[in-house]
Amino acid sequence: MNNNSRLRYEIDSFVVPGDRLGSFFKTTVPGPGTSARKGHLYASTAGRLSIQQQEEQSLITVTPPHDFASRRVITVGQIVLAKVDRVSWTQAHVSIFATETGGTLQYPAEAIVRREDIGSTVPVTHTTNTNTANNKTSWQVIEAVRPGDWIVARVLSLGDTQRYMLTLAEPQLGVWYALSAKGGTVMQPKSWNTMVCPKTGVEESRKCAKPRC
């Protein structure tokens, strides 16, 4: 495994940030955990050195014992799990608790879902199943989410200095977990726009996330 690479350290040995791993050729490229500078590869994290073969290129990687801190950054296009804090006429304020790549975050981040981003305004093309009944274009925020609900949303943009911007405008995005207003029991989704309390049978309006089968 070691023959083709001209690395200064053995494969599977430990390296430390800044260790110069070797030279940078067309076939030996920097992978995760390494960086390149002036024709040389340097390790950028403390971990185990390894090579991943990818077509004709070999990626030099250094894997740390725990995941990189940069994976916990909230990036555009990720699915996130958030809890609704408060709701106004124009937007819903939520706190992001977990992301796709980063897992559960240590500290929640603030975000908003605008009223225009709750319903789909154009036919969704990136899902395979276009349910025409689920194409309500304009929602009232209070009919879609309520404070205390947990929602699955997608990051639309990095927003301004205070908060991220999320969107619910896809069939699989929306409310995942909600408690009923009167009794506080966990409600079950009845359709794409209703949730029902199993004890009392009372229906409440929510934009429900499409359940995964």
Binding site: F14, V16, P17, G18, D19, R20, G33, S35, R37, Y42, S44, T45, A46, G47, R48, P64, P65, H66, D67, F68, A69, S70, R72, V73, I74, T75, L105, Q106, Y107, P108, A109, E110, L158, T161, Q162, R163
Partner: protein, 286 residues
């Protein structure tokens, strides 16, 4: 993750009384109470990491002890950031803060005596404000220097609209605080799995009576004619912080910087050995 027990390695050694001899060469102690050191040697170094939460380090250089805690990434609305920090959309921000532990960590008597006039000495209630001013200015000074030393080594474009918070607490100040802070921050950043271009190492050199002393302790720092601090990225061979206070001839400046660079290389060896040891320990546990 389990918290490991750590202890400060030499906090029970009594500090030597200031020497009563005038002039002549004074013996330099290396901080473990036993050995003396040459003018170009560093003091005894002890490093421990993951002492608080994940991403923390404790560094002792002689009697100077600092603890560093790194939190990353910190988002915009978090209570960990003061409102003065502005986050940028394109790349991350590094926020460094150095704090002195109150009362125990700095030489109160020396600060008071250094700035005392006969009139001040009789007014006890002003002494605490003088200590506070000294402490605040020193903390902000160290924070700014730590920030400029670390900024060269962290690839901030991986953290858009986030902040990496480096919090250093000085448990005891016995000279060479900034090199200890920088070493602790490097180890803590690595253990927090923040990618670094290179480990930042640092060393301080004092000029006293024409002799260059590496890693000065507090007495040597205060009686020195000049002080040179260098923060260096050893593999990239780049300098991230170079400071000089006092008066040096050009030849002496060159010699001081060379001595600093040797000190940085030694520090790098210590940092590297510690990180490799921790890696092999954690792998054998799995």
């Amino acid at each position: 993750m389990t918290k490991s027990a750590f202890k400060l390695s030499n906090c029970y050694f009594p500090l030597e009384l200031p020497s009563s001899q005038e002039g002549g060469t004074k013996e330099r102690h290396s901080g473990d109470g036993k050995t003396t050191r040459a003018s170009h040697s560093l003091r005894r170094i002890h490093i421990d990491s993951q002492v608080l939460q994940s991403g923390s380090a404790l560094v002792e250089m002689g009697h100077t002890k600092v603890i560093c805690q790194v939190t990353s990434p910190v988002y915009a609305s978090s209570s960990l950031l003061p409102s003065s920090v502005q986050l940028s959309m394109d790349e991350g921000t590094l926020y460094c803060q150095v704090n002195y532990l109150s009362h125990a960590s700095y030489p109160t008597a020396r600060i008071l005596n250094a700035s005392a006039t006969p009139l001040d000495q009789s007014h006890q209630q002003f002494s605490s404000s003088r200590i506070n001013t000294w402490r605040l200015s020193r903390e902000s000074d160290l924070s700014a220097r730590l920030l400029s030393a670390l900024q060269a080594a962290v690839p901030l474009q991986q953290y858009p609209k986030c902040c990496i918070r480096v919090q250093v607490t000085v448990l005891q100040d016995d000279g060479s605080v900034l090199p200890a802070c920088i070493a602790a921050a490097s180890i803590a950043l690595t253990r927090a799995c923040v990618e670094l271009y290179d480990l930042v190492t640092s060393c301080q050199v004092a000029l006293q009576n024409g002799i260059l002393l590496a890693d000065p302790d507090l007495d040597e720092e205060e009686s020195a004619d000049a002080l040179v601090t260098l923060a260096f990225l050893p593999n990239w061979k780049e300098v991230s912080l170079l400071e000089q206070s006092g008066k040096l001839s050009p030849a002496q400046t060159n010699q001081a910087i060379d001595l600093c660079r040797d000190g940085c290389r030694t520090m790098h060896r210590f940092l590297r050995d510690h990180l490799l040891q921790k890696l092999s320990e954690s792998k054998t546990k799995d």
